[in-house]
C-alpha cells in the first residue's frame, strides 16, 4: 500500500510538471474549444471519395491483395461453402477454428470446425487454420479489416493459427483509406486489426519473406 501511494504521488507530480512544461513552452493553456476549432481548420484536400465502378473496384482489390501474396477467389452468395471446401482441400487443412457468430452456411461438410470459446494460445496453435468474415476492405492498399464482433472474433484467433481464410463481401469494399476510416468511425473503440497479405518481413537484405510470426498463408473469398 505504502509503495503504491508513493508511485501514485510520483506519477502525479510528474504529470503536473510535464503539463506545466508544455504550457510554458507554448505560452498558455489549450482549451477544448480552441483545439476543436483548430482541428476543423486542417486542410484536407486529399482524396476522400471513389470514382470507380464496382467491377473496377473489386479488380483493384484483387490485384493489390495478390501483390501481397494473398490468394483471391470470387464467388456468388450461395457458393461460399463450396469455395471453402475446395480451398481447404487444396491447402490440406482439416481442423479449423472459427469465431463465435460466423455464418454457418459458409462452412462445408467434411471438415472439423471448432468454435472459439476463449481457448488458450497453445490450443489455438494446434489448429490447421482459421476462417473469419471481415468488416471492410480497402482496394487501393489491398487491406482487410477485422474487429472484435460476431464472425470475426478476438485477435488471438486470427493470429496464432498458421493459416487464415477470410471472407469479404463485395458491399464492404471501399477504394480509399479515408472511406474505410469513415466506416469504422462508429466503432472506433473496438479492437481492430488491419492486414495486408500474410505476415511478412524484409529485414534480411530487403528480400520479402512471407510468414514470420502470423499466419503464413492468406486466402480471400470475395462474395459478389
Amino acid at each position: 500500500m505504502g509503495t503504491e501511494m508513493t508511485v501514485a504521488n510520483a506519477s502525479s507530480a510528474a504529470r503536473t510538471e510535464i503539463l506545466r512544461r508544455i504550457r510554458v513552452a507554448k505560452g498558455g493553456t489549450s482549451t477544448e474549444a480552441a483545439a476543436q476549432s483548430g482541428w476543423g481548420h486542417v486542410t484536407r484536400e486529399y482524396r476522400r471519395t471513389s470514382a470507380l465502378e464496382t467491377e473496377a473496384l473489386l479488380e483493384l482489390l484483387e490485384d493489390r491483395l495478390r501483390d501481397y501474396d494473398a490468394h483471391v477467389v470470387r464467388v456468388g452468395a450461395d457458393d461460399v461453402a463450396d469455395a471453402v471446401s475446395k480451398i481447404l482441400t487444396t491447402r490440406g487443412k482439416r481442423r479449423i477454428v472459427v469465431p463465435d457468430g460466423l455464418t454457418a452456411e459458409w462452412l462445408p461438410e467434411g471438415f472439423e470446425f471448432v468454435t472459439d470459446d476463449g481457448m488458450s494460445a497453445t490450443s489455438l496453435d494446434a489448429f490447421d487454420g482459421v476462417i473469419t468474415g471481415s468488416t471492410v476492405a480497402i482496394a487501393v492498399t489491398g487491406t482487410v479489416i477485422l474487429q472484435n464482433i460476431a464472425g470475426q472474433g478476438r485477435r488471438a484467433v486470427t493470429l496464432v493459427p498458421d493459416y487464415h481464410l477470410c471472407v469479404v463481401k463485395a458491399t464492404d469494399v471501399v477504394e480509399t483509406v479515408p472511406q474505410a476510416m469513415e466506416k469504422l468511425s462508429g466503432t472506433s473503440e473496438l479492437t481492430t486489426t488491419f492486414f495486408s497479405g500474410p505476415s511478412a518481413t524484409a529485414d534480411i537484405e530487403m528480400t520479402r519473406i512471407k510468414g514470420v510470426h502470423g499466419p503464413r498463408h492468406l486466402d480471400v473469398i470475395l462474395i459478389m
Binding site: 507554448k26 486542417v42 486542410t43
Partner: protein, 485 residues
Amino acid sequence: MSGVALDPKTSPVFPMAAKAALGDTQMRKNVRHATNVIQTKRGRVVGEMPDWQQLREAGKQIRQHTMEHLDFYLEQFEENCTRVGGVVHWARDAEEAKRIVTGLVKASGSDEVIKIKSMTTEEIHLNDALEAAGIHAYETDLAELIIQLGQDQPSHIVVPALHKNRQQIREIFQRKMNLPELGESPQDLADAARMFLREKFLRVKTGVSGANFLIAETGGVCIVESEGNGRMCLTLPETLITIAGIDKVLPRFQDLEVVLQLLPRSATGERMNPYNSIWTGVKEGDGPRAFHVVLMDNARTEILADKEGRQTLNCIRCGACQNVCPVYRQTGGQAYGSVYAGPIGAILTPQLQEMHHAQSLPYASSLCGACYEVCPVKINIPEVLIHLRNKVVKQNTAGIVGLFDVEAGAMKAMAMIFKSERRFRAAQRLGRMAETPLVRKDGRGVGWIGWLPGMLGGWTQVRDLQEMPKETFRDWWEKRRTNGN
C-alpha cells in the same frame, strides 16, 4: 560490436566515428543496397498517389496542430484511456520511465518480457535497466532479434539491421540458437526466428511495446508492423506496458486516415504495412487483462519550447530521410552515436540531449535538402540543422568558457583583420610566407597544401588546398594603374 547501447553522452563525435565507419566496406555495401531497394519501392508507390502532396500538407498541419494543443490532447488521451480500463503513468525523464516500467514488470509477477521493436525504449536503454533488475527482455522483431543476439547496435529507425547481410545473420543465428545446420536463404533464417520466438510468445506473460500513435479522442493506441510479432506481443500476454513519447498523440481517430497513408509508403515503400493494430484499453476476453501506458517527456518539452526546433516533434519515424541522405548512405547509422540516425537523428538527438551532447551531429549534413523533399510531414530538416548549428556556436562562445574557445578566438581575430585594409594586406603577406614550407608542386607546377596544422587540419583532412596566388588582385589592379594601361 561491443553490445554497448548507442549513447550520445559517451559516443565519439561524428567526424571520428564516421571516419572509422568509412573503412568498413562491407557495411557500406549493405547499407547502400538496402537503402537503394527501399528508395526504389518508395518512389514507385508514392508515384501511384495523385494526392501525395495534399496528404503531406494535411499530415504537417495535423502534427503542428497537435503540438499547439499538446497539453489538451494528452489530458484527453489520459481521461479516455483510463475510462476504458487502461492505467496512465507520466515520466519526466528516462530514469523515471525506466523505474516505472521495471516496477510494472515486477508487479506483473514476471522476470521475462517480450518486446516489440520500439525506438523509444532504445532511446532510454530500457533493456539494460530491465536486465539490471533481473528481468530478461526478448526482442521479437526479426531485425531487433538479430541486433540483440549479435550484441550489436541498431543502424536505422525502420530497418535496424540493414547493415548486416544474410551470411552475417546466419552466423549469429547458428551460434546463438545452436543451429549448426542452418541454411542461409532469407526464408531459412526467418523460419529459424519463427521457431525460436513462438515458444516465447506462448509462454511469456508480460509484453512491452512502443506506440506509433496515441488517439486522444478514444484513448486508443495504434501500432503498425509487418511480421505479426507486434500482434503477438499486444495480444497474448496478460500484462501489456506501452511506452510512448508525449509527441505520439493524434487528436482524433479520423486522423489515422492521413498518417496510415503517409507512414507505410514512406517507411518501407508499401501501400500498407502487413499489420496495423488498434486497441483501446482492456477488452474482456481479448488481449491483456492489465494495460499500462507510460507517457514520457525526456526533453521533448525542451524541443517544444524552441520555436524553430519544434517541428522536429512532428516526426512520425518513417526513416525516409535516412534512405536518401548522402551522408547516412556512406557512414551507416552507428556513426551517429545515437539510436536516431540520419538527418532526423542529426536534429533530434542533440535536442533530446538539451544541446549538451551530440553537438557535432547538426554538422553531419551536406544541406542538400533531399531529406526535406521526402519527409511525409514536411519537416524542414535543413532549416533546423542551421538553427541548431547557430545554437551550438552561441552555446560554445557564451560566458567564461567562450573566452577559451579557439574557434571563437580565431573568428574574432578574423573580424579584426577584415576591418582594416592595412591589417588585411599584412595578413595576406604573412599567409604567403607561412604557407611556404607546406606547399608541394604538382606535375604542372601548381602548388598544393595537403596538410595544415592544428584546427586548420580539419579542412585538409579530406581535400587539398591550392597555394595562395603570388600576386593578389589588389596588387595587380594597382600595378595596372601605375603602368598607365
